[in-house]
């Protein structure tokens, strides 16, 4: 990608791009996929969601998110970067091959899924964005549109929804810029048209329906951490040894499993410790929870 403008033109001329509204994505297999797990059903992944912009009940996003328009869609990349850029969703989709990545997904509420996401490593986009050496954090901002998001009035989070990562976390190959699941474009309730997925962190860290990626020198303020800093840390790595003040994180309920076999032990870093534990060497994970 030499520049957004050039890509934009290419996107317009490429006949395949007129298929942008089609639901299928061409995906390639990835060695970074978690193996040996049965993915949660498409139905459960797309009907049991936390996306508070569309309401607090698990079925609200599937009921209400349909009104959000995901085309046209632009993502602004700004802050501490060489040059501010705006890219369209078509440009993002055609930038790199889309990989299928099967990841465990662990919600801070102690339920979990196994999801075959589709996307490519966020590091690819960050390299292209050329952040300045001063940039130590990256912030993600979700669309804020009260005309299609009834939850904005219902819940007092600081909207727009903000999440953030330290630069080394954002650059980790597991951190996925995500466009689809089960080989299809994301349904709106799962964060269409583009979201991030950080499989070793609680789900709320993985911002949905992103409109802005902002590079900063200081730790950005993030929605749930602002709301209740004792309950939701900036890092929020999945950790069975650090309880949420109100509930245990030692185990989790697997979504879609029969009632008496739902409960499973929660794994350190959600099972991705071999790949990511070194990011936190020397850090007290009870303090930086």
């Amino acid at each position: 990608m030499t520049g957004a403008a050039a890509l934009g033109v290419a996107g317009l001329l490429d006949p395949r791009q007129s298929m942008a509204d089609a639901t299928k994505l061409q995906t390639v297999k990835s060695p970074l996929s978690t193996t040996g797990l049965t993915p949660t059903s498409y139905k459960d992944i797309t009907s049991y969601n936390n996306f508070y912009e569309f309401g607090v009940e698990k079925d609200n996003p599937a009921q209400n998110a349909g009104k959000m328009r995901t085309r046209p869609w632009k993502v602004t990349i700004d802050g501490l970067v060489k040059q501010k850029k705006t890219v369209s969703i078509e440009e993002l989709l055609s930038f790199k091959p889309i990989e299928e990545r099967v990841y465990r997904h662990r919600c801070v509420e102690a339920w979990s899924m196994v999801i075959p996401w589709a996307g490519y490593s966020l590091s690819e986009l960050i390299n292209w964005a050329e952040p300045l050496p001063k940039a130590k954090y990256v912030q993600f901002l979700t669309l804020e549109d009260a005309s299609v998001m009834p939850g904005l009035r219902e819940i007092n989070l600081n909207w727009p929804y903000s999440e953030g990562l330290r630069m080394d976390e954002a650059m980790h190959p597991l951190t996925l810029l995500t466009f689809g699941l089960y080989g299809e474009v994301l349904p709106n309730q799962d964060g269409a048209p583009v979201r991030i997925v950080i499989p070793w962190k609680y789900g709320f860290k993985s911002a949905k329906s992103i409109v802005k990626i902002h590079f900063t020198a200081d730790q950005p303020s993030t929605a749930w951490n602002d709301m209740a800093p004792r309950e939701y840390g900036f890092y929020s790595n999945v950790n069975p040894n650090v309880d949420h003040p109100r509930w245990s994180q030692k185990s989790e309920r697997r979504i879609g499993a029969p009632i008496f076999s739902q409960r499973q032990p929660t794994l350190m870093f959600n099972g991705y410790g071999d790949q990511v534990a070194s990011l936190y060497n020397g850090m007290d994970l009870k303090k930086y929870f």
């Binding site: 459960d44 607090v56 007092n156 109100r246 309920r253 029969p258 009632i259 739902q262 409960r263």
Partner: protein, 208 residues
């Protein structure tokens, strides 16, 4: 209200009170408890407990609105016992599905988590009420003492609502409806007792 109407109504109340359980059992057998069956059962039994408790607490204030509503009191025990029944099922979901009957883990959990403490308090307060729900208990305790004891139902309701607020995420306001209903019922009680006291004092003055 005549006897036949009361019997028919009691039958209807039984059906309505059993409906949440019947639905759970039906969905359990048809494998249709939703993506998170543990949560489905927990929420359904919790809601049933709190709603029935609040409905049972509404009987007395409603009855005071008009002497013609006196028959409502004949449903209070039934509603209260059903609230206790669902409270027991709700507690069972915690003991079984969340703790796997692991006593050590439970003690650790209860000590650490205020929402569990509030929920346990709400349930424990209902135990003596269920135990003294018979006519025999009223006679044995005497009307006044029995009545005083059964005001614990309000404390239980408040604990239940606090339990609800403490388990939802900060910023979520779904428990507001049941909280307001309970607050109105409490306020109605306070207003009633103040008016009683004032009219009694007025009575004393005129007598002397």
């Amino acid at each position: 209200m005549n006897k036949r109407a009361i019997v028919a109504l009691k039958f209807a109340v039984w059906l309505v009170c059993l409906a949440p359980l019947a639905l759970l059992v039906y969905h359990g057998f048809t494998n249709d408890l939703g993506p998170d069956p543990t949560a489905t059962v927990t929420h359904a039994t919790g809601f049933a407990t709190l709603r029935l408790l609040v409905i049972s607490l509404a009987v007395t204030p409603l009855r005071r609105l008009s002497p013609r509503l006196a028959w409502l009191v004949r449903f209070r025990r039934l509603l209260g016992l059903f609230a206790f029944f669902y409270g027991c099922l709700h507690l069972l979901t915690y003991l079984w599905l969340y703790s796997g009957f692991n006593v050590a883990a439970m003690i650790d959990d209860i000590g650490k988590r205020r929402y569990i403490m509030a929920g346990m308090t709400a349930w424990l307060l209902l135990v003596p009420l269920a135990a003294t729900s018979t006519k025999w208990s009223i006679r044995k305790l005497g009307g006044k003492r029995w009545q005083a004891l059964h005001r614990l139902a309000y404390v239980s309701g408040i604990s239940g609502v606090v339990h609800y607020w403490w388990i939802v995420k900060s910023g979520v306001r779904t428990p507001i409806t049941i909280t307001l209903v309970l607050a109105v019922l409490l306020l109605a009680r306070v207003v009633w007792s103040v008016r009683q006291r004032v009219s009694r004092q007025a009575g004393v003055v005129t007598a002397s």
